[in-house]
């Protein structure tokens, strides 16, 4: 018996020292040598690749959902006849929703809770339908997604595939807005909203990062470059136009406002209030229109001197131009520190 005991121990010891192969799966299919971002600034967030599970079979319910308060932020999208909202209280835990039916086509809604940035990406990449997952990696504290077809890594706020077979590709963005649930459902009472029936059991009422969202001193991972022109966690609306990024503070839109300004050779209309902002790149006949903020808890958000009424996505919903759409500027709502890290030295709008 004593010998058997010793043999058993020796076997256990050697088993522990050897690399077991049953768990050794390749972590990716991409070339690890090539990145478009500095590899020394990429961080392992902790959960690992897929450790934060994307939602692949989203279930939606009507606007009478009782698990969201009016002040909770949602990501809103309209595509075709589809109006949908994705609450932060769910996105905080999943970061990605692969929604295969938004107006009849697949869209990936992605949200980074550490930088407060949300985008809609076309679910067809390089001619093939795909879905995305959370890589568990961060660059400048911001989400890096991977596409499940090729394993390529995509930097969310850089809006570019930064590693893998599709390196250098740009995601096709679908416009989204971010606002309070109460505002969104007043604008679009027929909206559907992502339910808590996600296929996962999470504490959706609980914000998973403590006081991160309000503590301006607290970053989980340092960013480069840092910019202290505004409080780090202040949410700003930023227009990204090649070499120039222009940030707009929500406090400058209290009570509602329209701004028309030209930079980088383009004229932008920025319209919003303290809860929601969107911007449009004007061209042709729209350059001569005189826009007015005109929101009164309905879909109409602004109007013009021709008598047209426009919604927050820049679609004329009433008037002689009904059905026409303004071109939405490339833009995002972001924590200040993040937009300033990805697009250094952003200009800050001031009156």
């Amino acid at each position: 018996m004593k010998k058997n005991v010793i043999y058993l121990f020796v076997i256990l010891l050697f088993a522990s020292c050897s690399n077991s192969t049953d768990l050794d799966f390749p972590s990716s299919s991409y070339n690890p040598e090539e990145w478009l971002i500095p590899i020394e600034e990429i961080r392992d967030g902790g959960p690992g690749r897929g450790g934060i599970p994307a939602i692949d079979n989203p279930v939606f319910i009507g606007a009478n959902a009782n698990y969201i308060s009016d002040d909770d932020l949602v990501i809103g999208i309209i595509k075709g006849n589809e109006i949908k909202a994705y609450p932060h209280i769910v996105m905080d835990w999943h970061e990605i929703v692969n929604d295969n039916d938004v107006g009849g086509s697949p869209v990936t809604i992605n949200y980074c809770p550490l930088t407060g940035t949300a985008f809609g990406w076309d679910g067809v990449v390089n001619g093939q339908a795909t879905t995305f997952g959370v890589s568990g990696l961060l660059y400048n504290s911001n989400l890096i997604l991977f596409d499940r077809n090729t394993g390529s890594n995509w930097s969310q706020l850089k809006l570019e595939c930064v590693n893998g077979a599709l390196m250098g590709d740009l995601p096709q963005t679908i416009s989204v807005v971010e606002t309070k649930w109460g505002v969104w459902k007043n604008m679009f009472p027929s909206t559907k909203v992502l339910s808590l029936n996600t296929g996962f059991n999470r504490d959706y009422g609980q914000y998973p990062y403590g006081d991160y969202i309000t503590n301006n001193d607290f970053l989980l991972f340092n960013v480069n470059p840092a910019n202290d022109a505004l409080p780090r966690k202040e949410r700003v609306y930023a227009i990204i136009d090649n070499t120039i990024t222009r940030a707009y503070r929500f406090e400058d839109f209290i009570g509602g406002k329209t701004i028309k300004e030209t930079f980088n050779g383009k004229t932008h209309l920025i319209v919003g209030n303290s809860d929601i902002i969107n911007a449009f790149t004007l061209s042709g006949p729209y350059l001569d229109l005189d826009f007015q903020y005109n929101y009164n808890d309905t879909e109409e958000f602004f109007s013009d001197n021709e008598g047209n009424k426009w919604n927050i996505f820049g679609e004329a919903i009433e008037g002689p131009r009904t059905g026409e759409k303004l071109t939405i500027s490339k833009s995002v709502v972001s924590y200040w520190f993040a937009i300033a890290a990805f697009y250094p030295n952003p200009e800050i709008y001031s009156e």
């Binding site: 004593k2 010891l13 690992g48």
Partner: protein, 324 residues
């Protein structure tokens, strides 16, 4: 103060300390350094050498005390531990604990598996202990100890694409910790082979000042308190020594740059069955398990599913050394 009152105070301290004291620890997947301290203080000149293997499996995702029924994330820590103890006097001893670890993180989603792992020499612990015999009467022992965790393990290991893995997956911590140790044991007069014991280990964690080059990382302070009993009997002509204990572990949140990190730290209670047999007069074999019976994690995090460890302990007394 009468001797009886003195004993009652000490016993109360240990029992209450074993059950209620708040403290902190690193994340749940850590290397079992504190867990494996506590070689006996033997007669002067005795050398003890322990070699053990520890397997820690974390496959239970909890939110507070609630099991979320999500086993897609798996953390495994394999550890090989080498304990070396030397009794400088009959009451004073030194103990060192060295480790080699393999840390694994496996994620299973949609039929795909991803594994990140590191391997290497882990941190070490040096502990000095002093014994107050008969403080609680005949056949009792009261040990106190003070030690440090020495950061000899690497804390900058990368995954297979060259990205530095997070602190929880590193073999080492790059931080000096202070270890406080105490042990109280008492053998019953009516049955001298039967003993009750309590052991408390508190780790005051140091800070890694160069985490990811530009940040500071501090694992939460940790308290581990054991209370249990053991007995001895003859099994197949071999001296067997089974024991059963409860382990309470409390860990504070980790901190980065001075800010607490959510979903780290918590409180746990484990049932720890232990069995050892005497293979020869100087060699014993030991195996034990840790079964969580209460887990209350901070936020949402993986919590231990089970842990097993086995090892041998060699006692070399002064008389045996003379034989060589």
């Amino acid at each position: 103060m009468s001797e009886m009152k003195y004993r009652i105070i000490i016993l109360t301290f240990f029992i209450v300390g074993s059950i209620t004291t708040n403290a902190q620890t690193c994340c749940s997947g850590g290397i079992p350094l504190s867990n494996n301290l506590g070689l006996d203080i033997s007669e002067k000149g005795t050398i003890q050498i322990g070699l053990s293997y520890d397997y820690n499996n974390l496959n239970t995702l909890n939110s507070g005390t609630e099991n979320l029924n999500d086993n897609s994330r798996l953390r495994i820590t394999h550890s090989v531990l080498l304990n070396v103890g030397y009794s400088i006097t009959d009451r004073f001893s030194a103990e060192a604990l060295f480790s080699w670890v393999n840390q694994r993180r496996k994620i299973s989603q949609l039929g795909n598996n991803t594994l990140d792992q590191t391997s290497g020499v882990g941190d070490a612990v040096v502990l000095l202990k002093y014994n107050f015999p008969k403080l609680l009467g005949e056949n009792s022992a009261f040990n106190i100890g003070l030690g440090t965790k020495i950061p000899i393990g690497s804390s900058t290991e990368t995954n297979d694409i060259g990205i530095v893995l997070n602190s929880d997956l590193q073999p080492g911590s790059n931080a000096w910790d202070i270890i406080y140790y105490s042990l109280l044991s008492k053998n019953l007069n009516s049955r001298p082979s039967f003993s009750v014991f309590s052991r408390i280990i508190y780790r005051s964690s140091g800070t890694n000042n160069s985490y990811l080059k530009t940040s500071e990382y501090k694992f939460g302070n940790e308290l581990q308190a054991f209370i249990g009993f053991s007995d001895q009997f003859i099994l197949f002509n071999t001296l067997a020594d089974p024991s059963l204990s409860f382990k309470y572990r409390s860990a504070e949140k980790d901190a980065i740059d001075g800010f607490d990190i959510e979903s780290t730290g918590g409180k746990w209670v484990f049932l720890v069955p232990n069995f050892s047999i005497q293979i020869s007069p100087s060699i014993s074999f030991n195996t034990k398990a840790e079964i969580p019976i209460y887990s209350n994690v901070d936020g949402t995090q993986l919590t231990p599913t089970f842990r097993v460890s086995s090892g041998i302990l060699i006692n070399i007394t002064r008389k045996q050394k003379k034989l060589f």
